[in-house]
Structures are given as C-alpha cells and as structure tokens.
Symmetry: C2
Subunit: 325 residues, 2 copies
C-alpha cells in the first residue's frame, strides 16, 4: 500500500514515518511506498524496506493538492497545520492553510473517480471552548475560542460530509495536547505544558506562565502515533457517521505535572521551573478544555497513556536516551 | 440605518422586507435604505418610507460580496442558501453558494477597516444529525447528515470566529423548519411538512411521504421574521461568545399536524392528504431532529408560536385572507 503523510516534516509526522519504516507495514498490509510532504523539506526516516519520496510545497495551492493525490495513496495522513498561536497572530494564513488547504485536499480526492482512500485528519481539543462541564463528553458541542480551533472544527465537518457521500473514508482524531513535545518550542500557545518538563530534564530553566491549578488534557507523542496507526486501520463501518473522535488522554493539573517530574527526576530538576504569570496566556488557557470522557474512542480501541509519570518516562527514554540532565 | 438582505427574493426575505417597510425602523432606529439582493430579481416590498434598492447577482463571485458591503450596511441579513434537497443533489453548487458565498461575505466585511456590522445568519436545525436525545439541548454537538447541514454548521463556526475577533458582530439563528411555507414547493426535502397543510387548505391534494408518527420542529414564517428582527437588535455582549442559537419552535408529529388541520379546517380538508410512503424521504427524515430545548434563545427573548393550530391560523390569515378552500 502507498501512504502519504501531509505534514511529514513536523514532529508527529517524523515519528509516524519512523514507526512506519520500522514496522514495514500498516495493519496487515505491506507498505510499498511512503511520501512525506511538508512546506519545508522533510527528513527521510531511517532504514525502511520501501522507497520514501520527499516533497515540498504549499497545500494552499490547489494544484499542489491535486499533484499529491494523483498517485492515489491508499492512506493519507493529513497532519499539516498552522499551529494555534500562529493562526491567532496571522488570521489570513491560518485560514489559507488550515481551511483552504484541507478543502483543496478533500476536493482533490473527491475529483478522482472510484478513489476512496482512508484519510486520517488530526483535529484538536481546541475545537472546544469554555464554559465546560467537569468532563467533556462525546456529544458536547464544538464552540472554539481560537481561529485554529475553528479551522479544525470546519475540517471535521468537511471530513464527515465527504465521507458520508462516499468520496473518501475519513477518520478525524482530536488530539490531546502533545506532551512532552520534543525539540525547540513552536508557536503553539500550549507550548509551556511541554517546556516545563522538557527544559528542566535537559538541565535548562523553563518559564511557567499560568498557575499550578490549571488542568489540561495530555497525550505523549508515542500515544499520538498509536492513535494515528489505529485511525488508519480501524473499520469505518464500526465508526459510523460520526467520524470525528476525541482521543483519550491524561487530565492533570500543572501542579500534578510538576509533582510527576519531581518523582521521576528529583527536586533539583523540578526546581528549574520559574513562575512568571502571563495574563495573555492565562486568558487563552482559561478557555481551553481541562478534562474529557473519551468513551467512544476508548470503546473503539484507542489507548491513552497510563499516567503522566509514564509520559515523562517515555520522553526520557525516547528523546534523552534514558539520561536526565 | 442601512439594511441589506442577502436572499431578499426568497420567502423569508420577502416577508422580512415587508415587515421592515411596514415598521419603517429596526428596533429604535429609523431605516434610511434597504437593499434586497438575490440570484433572481427580488420584488420590492409595498409602500416604504425609505428607498429600496434591488440587486441581482451570484454570491459565489467574490467581487459580488465586496460590492454588496461597500456601502457598509449597518445590518446584514444573510438568508441566501441552496436548500437541503438541492445541496444534496448538486454537491459542488451547495458548497459554492452555501460555504464559499458565506465566506466571501464575511471576508468582504472583514476587509473594511472599522466596519463591524451586525450580521444575522440563518442557520438551520439541519446542523444536527441522528442519533438524538429526546430533546436536543443547547450544548449538543453538530454532526449533520446532509451537505446543507454541513455548510450551515461551517457558516456558524466562521460567524463565531469572525465575531470573536471583532471583525463583525454576528448572530446565527438555527431556524426550525418553516411551516406553513406559502407558495409553490421548493427543493427543500422538508417541503412535505408544509405541503400537507397548505395544499388541502387551498382545495388541493397533498402527498405525505412519511408515517404519521414522525415528529419534527416547526416555526411559522411570522415567527421566523420575529426571530430575525430580534437577532438584528439583541445586545451581542449578552449573547457572549456562543453566537449560534437554536430558535424555539413547536414539536409536533405529522399526525398532530393533521389533527390540528382537522380542528382548524374540518374533516373534508384533512381528507385531502394522500399517504404515499417514499423510502428515500423516510430515510432522510429519520436523521432529522425531532424536538429541542431551546433554553438559551428563549432566555434571550426569542419567541416561538403558541401551538401548531396557531401556526395554521396564521397561515390562513396571512396567506389566504382568512379563507379556507
């Protein structure tokens, strides 16, 4: 089978590509070819039994989407997005990439007769906006309070409708905030949830802009890759018409994150977090989801991390070779 | 104040224009000018104290939207849409008018500096898709099962986001199915709910394609105009960030509709309904909402009809000059 990863140069895209290269197959089917597409040149994963093509381009260009699907990949992972902070700063760019780009992709798929690929779309818990119940259930409405969340919610609606009409076979997964996010900070406004774990573990100081009692919903990069693989192989008829699923995660407060860090890495590491309240970030975060009941996804076999401590230990193993700075 | 009605040639647009002409003002403010825009030439309402401009064009043309808002109307009613049946038949046309057209309008408003008009958008209960609870609450998710419903749900999301960012001041109202819809049937798949009342009252036979126990959510054209006027004048700060409101209505079964017709017009009229089950329509209708708890809108002062009998009597008065055929 042929696989296309749009956003193959991003953090999750690279990890997904690496996993596919290591596995050699997706579900029961051998992978014959993998294409990684991104706005900047993506890296090829390490050794793989199948050829890997690297492509660069702009998804908001309608011809780009057509070219990408022309070879009719069996599975398309659509991970590309302008992240929340940047989509809020640059209104036009967010809509151009996150909405128009997604629509171009779906239209391009739809334009090919008798081509019904599985399309896995990474949505986000940013489709939800406060006020919330204690735990957000699967039938709670999507009233985003960011342009990013709006664009993701629209992508979900398009995915469902194109799927219902038999033009593709889509599964949308609402990712929790990915934590611990490796590498350098991006423009996601939620970056501090990772920074306060990653930087102290690497021997550096991290800034915490919100109070310790802020609760949020997390999944490790490892879980996120697991969600993507499961979404790519799940039987769509079991999912039914409601194609967008809130992924399971771990609800923890910032205080609980820090305590987990202390348990895993000790007081010295935990003391590298500096509290610098930021009104603007606190205001944004106050509109974000805190906790979910992801019953549908859990029932469909999507698996969350066991605890926030496990999330930290996975980061130490996967990114730091087991070493704490 | 200047008012623009996009979709001013449609049934609701005409009734709204007539009401504005009769009132001479909207809320407390005198109307200085009314523009009616539609794809076919709209009719001017009767006597009005203000000038009425009639315009024809295609909202999916980006320049059309720019031209429409260039004169900076204070209130824009965006009622134009390809209806449910047609949007399902012609996928591309539905997206072009209902999604692209709406987006062009919002983008055109956003492009004018320091111009923040009230935009009243008619959404629909078609944004909801089965399965449903007994009554759909204000925080129930939007999982439409038609392309029309999808396009309306996307319009709602855009309206909220553009409003949140201060680019306009939008209110989206999810209209119940309008009943009794006067005039000749359009391509709305829900047309039979009106046909079975309107045609018998006019002395003609009507076909009922579903069973008597189908329950649905209705509002009279008179109520719909009331919703629009209230949405145009309500204080947006009280509405808050959740700008899309399910309008109150009357939940009745088809059997109850027929009994109300019998009460108002007698056995002879009610006997003009012929039952011709249609599997395709029954399947569509099975995915439609039946009943709501429109608490937010009711709390914000939107008023439903008192009963289905009252809906029929309003039709007899407003459309038939009090005469039953």
């Amino acid at each position: 089978m042929k696989i296309l990863i749009i956003g193959g140069g991003g953090m999750i895209g690279r990890k997904l590509a690496g996993r596919l290269a290591a596995d050699g197959k997706l579900g029961e089917r051998e992978i014959s070819e993998l294409t990684l597409f991104d706005v900047v040149s993506p890296d090829a994963p390490g050794d793989s039994a199948f050829p890997v093509k690297l492509r660069t381009g702009d998804l908001s260009n309608v011809d780009e989407a057509k070219a990408l699907v022309a070879e009719q990949p069996d599975v398309i992972f659509h991970l590309a997005a302008i992240v929340s902070g940047e989509a809020e700063e640059d209104f036009a760019k967010g809509y151009r990439i996150n909405l128009d780009g997604t629509r171009h992709l779906l239209d391009a798929v739809c334009a090919i007769n008798e081509y019904v690929p599985r399309v896995v779309f990474t949505s986000s818990i940013a489709v939800f906006g406060a006020p919330f119940p204690d735990a957000i259930t699967d039938d709670f409405h999507t009233t985003p309070l960011t342009s990013y969340g709006t664009q993701k919610a629209i992508g979900e609606l398009l995915l469902s409708d194109f799927t219902r009409r038999g033009m593709m076979d889509g599964i949308g997964i609402r990712l929790p905030t990915i934590c611990v996010r490796p590498g350098s900070p991006n423009k996601a406004a939620s970056g501090f949830f990772s920074n306060i774990i990653r930087e102290p573990l690497a021997g550096a100081e991290a800034v915490l802009p919100v109070s310790d009692d802020v609760q949020h919903w997390h999944a490790s990069p490892r879980s996120a890759v697991g969600f993507l693989l499961h979404a790519a192989t799940i039987d769509g008829t079991i999912v039914g018409n409601r194609r967008n699923l809130t992924m399971p995660g771990i609800a923890v407060t910032v205080g609980e994150q820090i305590e987990a860090l202390r348990t895993v890495a000790g007081d010295n590491v935990a003391s590298r977090i500096r509290r610098v309240p930021d009104e603007k970030i606190m205001h944004m975060v106050s509109g974000w989801p805190r906790n979910f009941r992801a019953d549908r996804a859990t029932g469909l076999g999507f698996q969350a991390d066991a605890s926030f401590e496990q999330i930290i230990r996975a980061h130490v193993n996967d990114e730091l070779g087991g070493n704490i700075g």
